[in-house]
Structures are given as structure tokens and as C-alpha cells.
Symmetry: D3
Subunit: 142 residues, 6 copies
């Protein structure tokens, strides 16, 4: 079992805002992250696939294909977008990194077999800034 990873990035606007709360409550909980007119980030996204190496290629997964998959299924929907208003798979969800990685998992996990004979999705790591980041390993991970 070897773990292979590909890093991509996207630039997006968002705000943290719970529509069930008043503006005051949102500002109290989320501080400047609730700014009505949005703020934004350069996000870095690392997707890791685990499996055994294909003896014909030496690859667990062709990272060019993994890159294309991530770009097509994830990056094109997020890059230069507003995470609260422009992204169908985030509709009705708080635009936190925690929620983002869980939704990304649902999209990518079933598609890994398209690009890797022996591999499966291991983790999705999302850097909102170089100092704030989250990682998700799927619900079956203990």
C-alpha cells in the first residue's frame, strides 16, 4: 500500500454566515469572517489516493489523470467563484472548510476507479490559509 498525493489550488470568495441567525449573532460568532461583502482565500487542496502500484506503470494512480479529475470535478466549480452563492454542491450548507472537504469526498470517492485500477481515496486536505487547514478521511475512518 502506497499513498500518492496531488496538490491543486483555487481562489474563491466566501463568508461564514448562518442564515438561521441574526446579523449580530453571526458577527458575534464568526467575527470578520461574517463580513457582508465577503472575503476570500487562495485555497490549496491535496487529494491522496492509496493502493498498490500497478506493475505495468509503477503507479498507484497516474497523477496527471488525478489532477484532471480534481480540476474537472472540483476546481472548475470553485475557482474564481463565491462558495456561498455559485457552487451547486454547497447550496444550503455553511461555507466552512469542514463542509467543503466532506462534499468533495462525496464527489471524488466514487470516481477514483475511473483513474486508478488498484487505488481508493484516502484523504482530502484543504488549506484555507497556510496556517488554517482541515483534513477528512471519509466516514469509515476511525
Amino acid at each position: 500500500m502506497v499513498y500518492v498525493s496531488r496538490k491543486e489550488h483555487f481562489n474563491a470568495a466566501h463568508k461564514l454566515y448562518n442564515p438561521a441567525w441574526s446579523r449580530e449573532k453571526n458577527e458575534e460568532v464568526f467575527g470578520p469572517c461574517a463580513n457582508a461583502n465577503w472575503h476570500g482565500h487562495n485555497f490549496d487542496l491535496i487529494v491522496t489516493v492509496k493502493g498498490k502500484a500497478d506493475p505495468d506503470t509503477g503507479f498507484v494512480a497516474d497523477l496527471k489523470k488525478l489532477s484532471t479529475l480534481i480540476r474537472t470535478e472540483i476546481i472548475e466549480h470553485l475557482d474564481h467563484k463565491n462558495l456561498n452563492t455559485d457552487v451547486p454542491f454547497m447550496a444550503g450548507k455553511l461555507a466552512s472548510c469542514e463542509n467543503l472537504v466532506v462534499e468533495m469526498w462525496k464527489i471524488l470517492e466514487p470516481r477514483i476507479p475511473q483513474i486508478s485500477k488498484f487505488g481508493s481515496l484516502h484523504s482530502i486536505k484543504l488549506y484555507e490559509t497556510p496556517r488554517n487547514f482541515v483534513e477528512y478521511f471519509g466516514d469509515d475512518h476511525l
Copy 2:
């Protein structure tokens, strides 16, 4: 003459949009950067002061004071904001990095004497992403 630098950062939303143009023309020129609902970045900002070292401190400028000056005069007005709508000193200007560094220069250049006896502002460098960045040395620089 020694050059001393301090790096700060801020996270903001913006779009590139010339209000004198149609939406179509904006999208043609600025592409996804013109997205109506904004996008955003983690900006890195490096301010450089040049001068001779004060013999009492060994400093051209106390970098803690330079940091405080940059945060008070620049970062607090930009961090977790929308550069097009929330920033008085950018009102009526296209929210490009080129315009940002020129406006920052106008604010910081006259205030350097507050924090440095022997120094003057040398340059302002702004990273929009790790791969796109601009630098300004003032109008007198050849």
C-alpha cells in the same frame, strides 16, 4: 544604507471590473476575474524601508513598529473585506494589485518618519498569489 523588510498578510474578496464597460466586455478582458459574485485571495504584503542603522539600536526601523504601522494603516482596512466595496482608499479605482500598491504607497510613505529616524520607504511588494505579484518603488524611482 540597509534595506529592512516586514511581511504581513490579509485575506480579501475582489473582482476586476471596469464599470465603464458592459458585462460582456468585462468578461472578455478579465475572464473569471470578473465573476459577478467575487472571488478572493490570501494576499502577502512586503514593505521595505531603507536608511542607515540607528547606532543606539542597530535598527534602520524597529520592525515591530513597522508591523504595527502597516496593520493599523493598511491591513485593518483590507483584511476580511471586499476590495471593491469596503475600502475607502480604493473607491472609484479598479481593484488591481497595481492600483493597490500605489495607494498603499501614498498612505505609508509620509508615515515612515513616525517609526524610523533615518529611514524612508523603499518599496511595496504585493503577492496576490504565490505566482502573481507586483512591486512599486514610488514615482521618483527610475
Copy 3:
């Protein structure tokens, strides 16, 4: 279960020195790290909390609160200090990164519930340099 991380930093002096040994033995074992007059580092510290996201905020832990907790309980006691002489929680211990992360765990682990309803401490990672670093997951981790 999502893992959320916050990176902080501190600058400190230390030396590696076992007081039960002679100076010669210390220099033989620790080399230049045993320099009598100290040396120092810019340490980077990454604290990871795991748990499920709070449905009201989308957060496992508010990273601003996690940052404040790390700064108050750890960074203020280490930053611009001497790890051998100035830090009560390191008294009587060798100032190695291994010992530092174990002591940090004892301080932070019981305090995570103050800042996160659903999360618990997962790991503490300490970079002494970009090339030397240690990580600790608590004693219960296999």
C-alpha cells in the same frame, strides 16, 4: 470525523545538555547543540483537533479560539524565551522537541473542550527547523 489544524510559531533559545553528564560527554553526544552559550530556532507549531462539525457553525473548532488557546497556554511561555531556563513546564527536563510536544499535550489536551463542543486533541507537530520536526498523538495512540 474531520481534522482541523492551526499553525503558530515562536522564537526561542535552547541547548541540549544533560546535567548528569560532563561537558565533554555532552559535547560528544549533542555536538554543537550543546554550545554553552545557547543557540536558537524559529519553531513552527501545528495543533490538530479532530471531531465532527458543529451543525450551527460548520466548525469542528473555531480556529481563532484554538489560536488564542495555543497562544495563551503555550506561545506566551516560550516565545522570545530560553527553553532551558525560562519555562516552568520544562523545568528539570531536557529541552528536546520530543519532550516539548509531550508537555504541550498535557497542557492542551484537557483544555480543548473549552473551545470545541465536539472535538478532542489529535496531534501536536513541532518544527525545530524546516528539516527537523516531531509529532505526538498522545499516549493512547497506537
Copy 4:
């Protein structure tokens, strides 16, 4: 149990090429990575040892000794070399990162006791570029 890591680097040429296939098939599968005249990378290599800290030194492993071990056993055989033609332990194997970390594991795992009383090899992580990397934890790791 604490995990301690050391990062080293090497610069090498390679190509991805399965000699059982035609040139056309290699170019179809590996694209520009199959370029007949090679290409190359600055590789970063992170080796992690886990164990309990030696009470006499505060160390799981002396990272200077770990560095020397990695350089002697691995880096000297790879740095400024061609991974396909110059490296005995890669002879007859596809020069993929997956195969590299598995071969490195075979070399380093039995030698860790030479430099650490209480530690054992935990993982080998290899960055081919800052965006493409692999990690291996040994065959016994689930």
C-alpha cells in the same frame, strides 16, 4: 510514542518507460514523462522514525545521525544521478516514486536500530515536485 522526521533532498534525472512496451505505447501512457532524453526533478525526502524518547538524550533518534544514515545509504546513490541507469537498487524497476519509496524502505528499515535504541521506521515520503508526492509506511501498515 513520538514521531521524529528528517528532510533531505536530491536532484536526479529519470524517465518513465516500460521496456516491455513500444515507444508509442510508452508515450501514450506516460506522456512527456517518457521523453527519450530524460527530464529531472529536485526531490525532497522525509524519513520518519517512531518510538519513545531516550531519557538520557530526550531523543527518539538523533536527527544528525538519521541525516547521516539517509545521506550515506540513499542520497549518495541518487543525487546528481540518473534513476533509470545509475542506481543499483532500482535496476530492472520502473523509476516511479512508488517504486523508489518501497526500495528505500528495504534499505533503511533494518538500519534504524544502528542510530536509535527505541525507534523504528514509520514512513518515507518523497516529493517529486511540490505538487506530486508519495508516502509509504511498510507492508505491515494497514
Copy 5:
């Protein structure tokens, strides 16, 4: 006058080898960089254009167009190539970073007007490794 920069990268093999010298002399002068079977690097390339900002766009140069120009004229000819054997504009030249940036200047300098109304080429900076890099400002720069 504002300076705008774009960073690109490429991965290539090369060796340092003066064909007018014996193998022994080459190894004496260039050391492992003369390895007969090549070695390689992940090169980072930063191209800087200077000029005044276009009042219609706020841009000295559209960095997407600058990126496309660099990729078309430079990166496509170097990425996943051998700098000694595969690159027409390096034919008959030692494959040093110094020679590379001078040749890149000759290609890019006359093409900047294609992508920028007010800008001209200011510098080309090439990182062979994060620790070894060169910069060129053209022959007219004092």
C-alpha cells in the same frame, strides 16, 4: 512605474559539460553536475515586466497573457526535456542557468509588446533549486 511578475515552472534534465574539455577536466570543474547520464531539477522561472498601469484595466500586463506567452515561448520548449540535447535555442551553449536566462531574454524581450501596451521586460529570474538561482536584467542594465 510598477513591476509585475509571473512565476512558472518546468522540470528538465541537464548536465554541465564543456565539450572542448576531457571528461576528467569536466569532472574536476563541474563535479557531480557533469554526470554522464544527466541529472535534473524542478526549475522555477519568474518573469518581471515594468511599466505604467493601463487606466482601462489597472494592469501593467495581463498576467494570464504573460503566463501564456512564457508557456508558449519558453516552457513548452524546456519542460520534460533535456536542456543539452532537446532545446534548439540552447544548441551549442553550456546548459548553465546564466546562459539560460540570457537566451530566454532574447526570446521574451521583443514579444512583451504583444501582451502589454505600456510595459517592457525588466528581469528574468531562474531558480535551479530553492538555494541556487540567477537573475538577468538585460545588457543595458548597469
Copy 6:
């Protein structure tokens, strides 16, 4: 004229302390940087040599030789040392980065001809942290 640079690093302890002042005055001016028991940093040092490329090697300066010169003349005297007490060339000087780069210039500038036929010292850049750094171009630089 091409500019070639080499990056080295060292880890050292220091404090900012003017012995002509009281402890109170030092703490007022230098804050925690005046901590009696020292603090420390991982310093990064970039030395730039400018000149024309030697036609026999394609080099302005052999960066391995520049590295050796910097290590022998500078790094060995600073690494794992106390900048206030252990470094002859800093004796009697405040241990600020500004003073460090000026003293390094005096040492390196006359020695560049030993390693480069056509080059001369252009600049010395010293990072105390990734966010605080200084650069010196010699006294003749305007």
C-alpha cells in the same frame, strides 16, 4: 551582467541589548527581544554575486565554491552560536540583522575574487524570520 545567488542557513541565539542603557530602557525599546536569557532564530542568508559568465563554464561564480566560502567564512562562526558572545566579528556591536549584514559584507566582499574571475559581491540578504529580513548592497550602492 548576470546575478547569481546562493542561500545558506544557520541557527543562533541572540538578544537585542544596548549595554549603555539600563535594563528598563532596553526592555522598553527592544521588548521581548531583550530577554536576559536570550532567544533565537533559524536565519536564512542569501549572497548574490554579479558579473559576466565565464565562457568556459557558463558560470558567473561556481555556486559550490560560493557555498563553501560562505560556510567557511560566515556560517561556521555563527551556526549554533550566541551572536552576542561567541562571534569575534560582532564583538562590541549590537546583534541586529542590520549590523550582521554589514559585517558579513566586510568579510565576503574582498574574498569573492578567490572564487569568481569576473564577479563581484552584489548583495547580502538575511532573513531573521520569514517575515523580518534585511538586505545590504555595500556602501557604494546608491
